[in-house]
């Protein structure tokens, strides 16, 4: 247990011994702030003249402002997370310090969880920005404290999953740059896939005249493909959560996602025992 804590403390401190930590925090705060201000302006314009923007009445504050803003905060972390995760293991390998880490009296668990928690610490440092925005928003319209907490928790859940994915990619990369680029690419593809998935037609793509069995098969495969595209991306499960609808399956999705890539990170670190034998 103390090993995890020691590794975590060093890793966390090193974010601020290099500019990485400041850059990540600063950029995140800046862009979140801009997004919040812009959506607030947009919302006030819409509420003055709802028909001009296709609304019949003043749109719901939570649905039209808070939820999209929170989903955006999560997506923004998607694009900044490589900054935080790319170095975790790739840099140790690149600098050779992995040799020290693996010959000190530490278990793989100490290393993986220590580093994961350090990155999660960075994520948590970003959250006060969002909380502040929600707090400000609550001055205009009453917001349930529970809804604010759930909103922040949603972004944290997305972050937990993203950090886990990024750490796994860092564990299998030799250089930070490769790890960072790859993580960014995977996140971007996931995001695009989600958007594409939502635009795909729901009906069976097989032509009417085809035999029934073939149509059912194609229809099933299509459903699966569409389901994967819409359900797998990290932002897909955030929307309801940010509206205050806490469904266990959405929460479990993020936790499972994080656990899965943590598991793979362990295997990647362990692979030194069986590779090249």
């Amino acid at each position: 247990m103390s090993g995890i804590w020691t590794v975590c403390r060093r890793e966390f401190a090193s974010y601020f011994q290099t500019p990485v930590g400041y850059v990540a925090l600063g950029v995140y705060a800046l862009i979140c702030g801009m997004a919040f201000v812009l959506s607030l302006f947009m919302y006030s314009k819409v509420s003055l003249q709802p028909p001009a923007y296709g609304y019949t009445s003043i749109p719901n504050f939570g649905e039209a402002l808070i939820s999209p803003y929170l989903v955006f905060c999560g997506i923004l972390f998607m694009f900044l997370s490589p900054l935080i995760t790319m170095r975790l293991l790739a840099e140790e390998r690149n600098r050779g310090t992995l040799e020290l880490l693996l010959t000190w009296p530490l278990t793989d668990r100490d290393i993986v969880f220590g580093k994961y928690l350090a990155a999660v610490g960075m994520l948590l440092l970003m959250m006060p920005v969002i909380a502040l925005h929600l707090f400000l928003a609550a001055r205009f319209r009453p917001l349930e404290p529970a809804a604010i907490a759930l909103g922040v928790a949603t972004v944290v859940l997305m972050g937990l999953a993203l950090i886990s994915l990024g750490m796994f990619i860092s564990a299998v990369s030799r250089s930070q740059v490769v790890a960072g680029t790859l993580t960014f690419g995977v996140n971007l593809v996931m995001y695009i896939a989600g958007n594409v998935g939502e635009k795909l037609p729901q009906r069976n793509p097989a032509p009417e005249g085809w035999p029934e069995t073939l149509r059912v098969l194609i229809g099933g495969a299509w459903e699966l493909f569409r389901g994967l595209l819409t359900q797998l991306p990290l932002d897909a499960h955030a929307r309801d959560l940010t509206l205050g609808v806490a469904r266990p399956r959405d929460v479990v999705y993020y936790l499972l996602f994080a656990a899965f890539f943590l598991f793979l990170t362990f295997r990647a670190l362990e692979s030194r025992h069986w590779r090249g034998k």
């Binding site: 090993g3 050779g96 310090t97 040799e99 020290l100 010959t103 000190w104 009296p105 530490l106 090249g276």
Partner: protein, 252 residues
Amino acid sequence: MIEVVDLTKNYGHLRAVDGVSFTIPAGRITGFLGPNGAGKSTTMRVITGFTPASGGKVQVAGFDVAREPLEVKRRVGYLPEHVPLYEEMTVRGFLGFVAGIKGIARGERRSEVDRVMDRCGLTVMAHRIIGNLSKGYRQRVGLAQALLGNPPVLILDEPTVGLDPRQIAEVRAMIRAFGGEHTVLLSTHILPEVSMVCDGVIIIHRGRVVYDGPVPDAGKGGASLEELFMRAVATDAAGREEETGVRKEEEP
């Protein structure tokens, strides 16, 4: 203290270490010699638990490296070949971190870090950033982290490479002083170093042990260490010259 039995290590099709066996009794300083790519670093990496062996057995202080790696790691201080360090940390910060990892109690960490810094002549550099240190001081930081927690076994991979003559003399004197208290396995390319510092010497070539015995004393009319080394390395190489250069050590 260190017992290596029939150790082999393959990197893919390359056999870097081929049936190496030796025993190093407690408190002895043993020189580990061999041409480049002989398997020295690989053997050391297996003993420290960084690289798993492909075959054979390694025991340190009675603990099997493969089965109880943590027990072995608690008893071994290791200075890797290229001295990897966390460049962005200060000397004291880094050593304090390692002391924490090695499980030294919070109250004793400061005095333990002071002790190894004093022993390695780092006290004046305590607050410098490691990335800004000269090669010689980096080497000392590497040695200092190995010494933290006073482990009974020290594995030092080319500790004097890249140092100036004065620093070499200092580091040698330091290692000499480890004798009796620590069991030391020291790899080097500098033969006189072994004569000066070590009690025994192991020479390996092409992944096999070709000499394991006391350091020869040229003054008594026997062969010098250099003659011994050249002979040990030549006898085996003569018949297999075409292989030269193939058996390079690979980074895992």
